[in-house]
């Protein structure tokens, strides 16, 4: 039996009928056309599918869409504001924080939570915070540099 799910995605109310087994990442990608949340490992390890749910970083490949009913979801498509890129996106741009770009949406959305908790997060704290996000280009140096720089700019 299908279930009705009402949620907010990037500030827009969405009302969808879904099979219980539909994963949040598939709802976002296949039903709503938001392909920013990438499916990498599909086993809750790589973090490419990370989105914010009620402000918290979560892996959308490990959530049922029905569990997101009533929640406020932000994907990478919803991060930039009217005035342009989000400061973390800008910092990735400025610091060459991406290579192939596949892990980038997940990295940036996890970084939002890391800097929410502590805008002055150190290099080590950022690395620890990114435990659930893998970059197969191994571009961690510039990813960490970007996040630390974004934090420094926000707290300046």
């Amino acid at each position: 039996m299908n279930h009705r799910v009402c949620l907010k995605v990037n500030g827009e109310a969405r009302d969808v009928e879904v099979e219980p087994r539909l994963l949040l990442c598939h709802l976002l990608r296949d039903e709503l056309g938001l392909t920013g949340a990438n499916i990498g490992c599909d086993t809750s390890q790589c973090g490419s599918c990370t989105v914010l749910m009620d402000g918290k970083a979560v892996k959308s490949c490990t959530l049922l869409a029905v569990q997101a009913d009533g929640c406020d979801v932000t994907t990478i498509e919803g991060l930039a504001g009217e005035n342009g890129l989000h400061p973390i996106q800008q910092a990735f741009w400025d610091n060459h924080g991406l290579q192939c770009g596949f892990c980038t949406p997940g990295m940036i959305l996890t970084a939002v939570e890391i800097l929410d908790r502590n805008p002055c997060a150190s290099d080590a704290e950022v690395r620890h915070g990114l435990e659930g996000n893998l970059c197969r280009c191994t571009g961690y140096e510039n990813i960490v540099k970007s996040i630390v720089a974004a934090g420094a700019r926000e707290s300046a």
């Binding site: 087994r21 390890q45 970083a57 490990t62 435990e131």
Partner: protein
């Protein structure tokens, strides 16, 4: 990957969840789902129905009094790790919670779910044993309180019956607690995790407990380690000698490609030494 088909029920109360578990054949509970959903995607688990208890009010949150902590079953690992009450009353529990998975996993995974799942690589079971936790569960026969040492029966197996739902955990206040872990670099599961609790009286160790997860199929209490340390001051040499006995409790240690059984037992000894030293120093 997506799970096989199932029906979905959202329970509004514990009573409704218990009733659904009793009446819908093959139903499983879900809250954070961070053990169950991956298993369902791999089709290792194929429940015919899920009963979602994730929205039941009053099942989440942490309260503390002079005796200790009361933690609702739906409290996430992130909440336990960040809680000032937990850090103060039982610092080792905050360390265990902070060691689980990663930020995203800790934002969804719940203490009740982790205990009910009893994964050999989970971080909470050893901590629950060492810290003397009591688990409350409600089922079709009413409510009961279960000692952690009775809850964990075997790998992925607890003493909970089919209709029982964990509602909360009580943990006695204990400053002298610590949890240390060797994490698997890919999965973040505990290759070895050691929880230690030490209490002192007049400079001597009056109470000591060490719980180990990750090494054997089910978390264990390392009795000989505690016996060896009790009744005397916890100096470096005594801690080393006591930790050296952890292997006596680790019969049936498991090995895999990443870490042999022998290596795990060695790591358990090293981590027991460090965890005991940290716990003893906090106990004062």
């Amino acid at each position: 990957m997506y799970p096989s088909r199932f029906d979905y029920h959202r329970a509004a109360s514990i009573e409704e969840a218990v009733q659904l578990l009793g009446s819908v054949e093959g139903a499983k509970l879900v809250s954070g789902g961070h053990s169950l959903i991956p298993a369902m995607k791999l089709r290792v688990a194929q429940p015919t129905a899920l009963v979602d208890i994730g929205r039941i009010e009053g099942l989440s949150g942490i309260s503390s009094d002079e005796d200790g902590l009361a933690i609702g079953a739906l409290t996430t690992h992130a909440e336990v790790a960040a809680s000032a009450a937990v850090k103060s009353a039982c610092p080792g529990l905050a360390e265990a919670a902070a060691a689980i998975g990663d930020i995203q996993v800790r934002n969804r995974g719940t203490i009740g779910g982790s205990l009910a799942h009893n994964d050999p690589g989970a971080d909470y079971p050893g901590a629950m044993l060492a810290f003397g936790a009591e688990i409350t569960a409600v089922g079709s026969n009413g409510e009961r309180t279960i000692a952690a040492s009775d809850l964990f029966v075997d790998m992925f197996t607890t003493c909970l019956d089919e209709t029982e739902v964990i509602t909360g955990v009580r943990i006695p206040a204990a400053r002298g607690t610590a949890y240390l872990k060797h994490r698997h670099p890919a999965s973040s599961y505990a290759v070895v995790g050691v929880a230690a609790r030490v209490a002192t009286e007049g400079g001597d160790v009056s109470e000591c407990a060490v719980g180990v997860n990750g090494v054997t199929g089910c978390a264990v209490l390392a009795g000989p380690v505690s016996e060896s340390l009790c009744g005397r001051p916890a100096n470096q040499d005594r801690i080393r000698t006591a930790a050296g006995r952890v292997g006596e409790s680790l019969d049936g240690a498991v090995g895999d490609l990443y870490a042999s059984a022998e290596f795990r037992v060695h790591l358990a000894e090293v981590h027991a030494r460090r965890a005991l030293a940290a716990a003893a120093s906090r106990a004062g």
